[in-house]
Symmetry: C2
Subunit: 308 residues, 2 copies
């Protein structure tokens, strides 16, 4: 197989559940020199290194082309997540559409005319940084960052921290989901976006991030770009209707998407990180020795026992 950048595993490949065993071509019998791949690490990982996202924190956005599964950051952005649950439970998003696809930036969905009634209890809030208690849960990485003094993970999401103020915030990596807003800083979750390009980290601490796409990212990222300003679709362009947005807990078991995620505080995850900093595969002639927060793979897979 013709193999551009054959040694590189992207997060998307892992997300897509691809078997990566073929990624590194090993000379047979050369056991001593065997590089350990991410696929090896995942295949050998104990079951307790994985977690199933809480059904109350899992959002399904069903499009004609398939399902986008989002984990909501209920501890970092509790008010927004409460809003989004309430919106999903009143079927607020059903029949709305994706209204904006800006290349190398974001996909956005909302009610452009603000015609839909917003359920009682949905309150606009500012949640640019994580709610109280995040500092104790933050898992730091030693790696450098361009935008923040410290980076790491919070509740499984890419995040950053200011060691002086102990403030923690989620980071705008590929696949992160946020609550759009206009100029007042408050947002309520009725307008949502997902990052589909190089991490726009300049948005960190300027918008409430509310979750991350766990599966189906390619359904958003491959949408036609809008030809209007800032990638908004213009009337002549076909819309992308949203069939429904549901909290997984409200969906019958048989219709749920059984996936699990590698815990960011597990030994397997630490080994994956180190494998991605130091590339020992023969394809790599120069090891990067570093990793960007937004290049860290966050493995997601079908639950093995689910028999898919």
């Amino acid at each position: 197989m013709s193999g551009v950048v054959a040694g590189a595993v992207s997060r998307a490949a892992v997300l897509a559940g691809l078997v990566l065993a073929a990624l590194v071509l090993r000379p047979a019998g050369d056991a001593a020199a065997k590089p350990v791949t991410v696929a090896d690490l995942l295949a050998g990982s104990p079951a307790e290194d994985w977690r199933v996202p809480d059904a109350e924190d899992t959002l399904y956005m069903d499009l004609a082309r398939g399902r986008v599964v989002i984990e909501l950051a209920s501890r970092a952005a509790p008010q927004h997540v409460a809003n989004i649950r309430a919106l999903a439970r009143t079927h607020y998003f059903d029949g709305l559409a994706i209204v904006r696809v800006q290349d190398n930036y974001v996909v956005q969905w909302d009610d452009p005319d603000h015609h839909r009634p917003v359920p009682a209890g949905v309150r606009a809030a500012v949640e640019f940084t994580a709610a109280a208690g995040a500092d104790a849960r933050f898992e730091p990485l030693a790696d450098r960052d361009v935008y923040a003094p410290q980076i790491g993970f919070l509740d499984g999401f890419p995040a950053a921290r200011d060691p002086r103020s102990h403030i923690v915030w989620l980071a705008h990596c590929y696949g992160m989901v946020g609550a759009g807003r206009d100029d007042p800083p408050e947002s309520d979750g009725t307008e949502m976006y997902a990052v589909i390009g190089h991490a726009p980290r300049q948005l960190d601490r300027n918008v409430a991030l509310v979750g991350r796409v766990l599966q189906g990212m390619e359904l958003l990222s491959s949408l036609p770009r809008g030809s209007g300003e800032m990638g908004f679709y213009v009337p002549s362009e076909p819309t992308v209707p949203i069939r429904s947005v549901r909290i997984a807990a409200d969906v019958p078991e048989a219709e749920r998407t059984p996936i699990e995620m590698l815990r960011t505080n597990s030994a397997t995850f630490r080994a994956v990180l180190e494998q991605r900093r130091q590339r020992h595969e023969p394809w790599f002639k120069f090891s990067p020795d570093h990793i960007d927060l937004c290049n860290v793979p966050l493995p997601v897979r079908a639950i093995p026992s689910a028999g898919r």
Copy 2:
């Protein structure tokens, strides 16, 4: 207009030639507080701050959905660019197809069966770092980087440098184009890829980067992802045929795409950079103060005199 992340201009928006004047909502009459936007800076820039890419260094890849315009890095990767010119001139790529689209990673095109004859003069080479002389042309930025000790621009392309060895290399930012390879480090340009996701900077110094997409990036980034391993299309998936790949100099004037690019050594570019580090638009509640190399806008526009 509903305005998620309304204050942020992506490179893609600039690439797409969008008028960005509406991006920042200014209170009328509040001249003193007027933030200067990228659109303002570009609108007020002198003609000499722009350059037209050399027609010998400009590659047109024509797909059914439109034209992808690539500037070739003829000084950084002279052997690969000579190869690519020779391949284009023998119509090597015409009738081939895009064979791989891996989400958050790369789009790739080549001759999967290696059936096509390679013209005489095409020689496989290793050009992981820029050819001699690059150090003197490197334009450094003061900004931090995760992967390299120093970053900046080389001949208009995002690049990095090691101040000890004076080695310079191009960086795998969104829209950069490289020459794929298998395990031997040499490549010849018959296999090409473009970056469509978060910058896979771990590939820097591991592959020859040969250029950058100037226009038409969304034609590649919005392609359906391949369902095979590493995003390769499987036989049941529709292919994306390449109508032709041509050097602009070989295309009649009337069929060329008249675009120009902001010079990275211009005062306007320095002002754009500073505007993107320090965000003064009212939408921004927290200024990032930093910029990631791959978030620097590299403005491209239709040549004003071309009347398009």
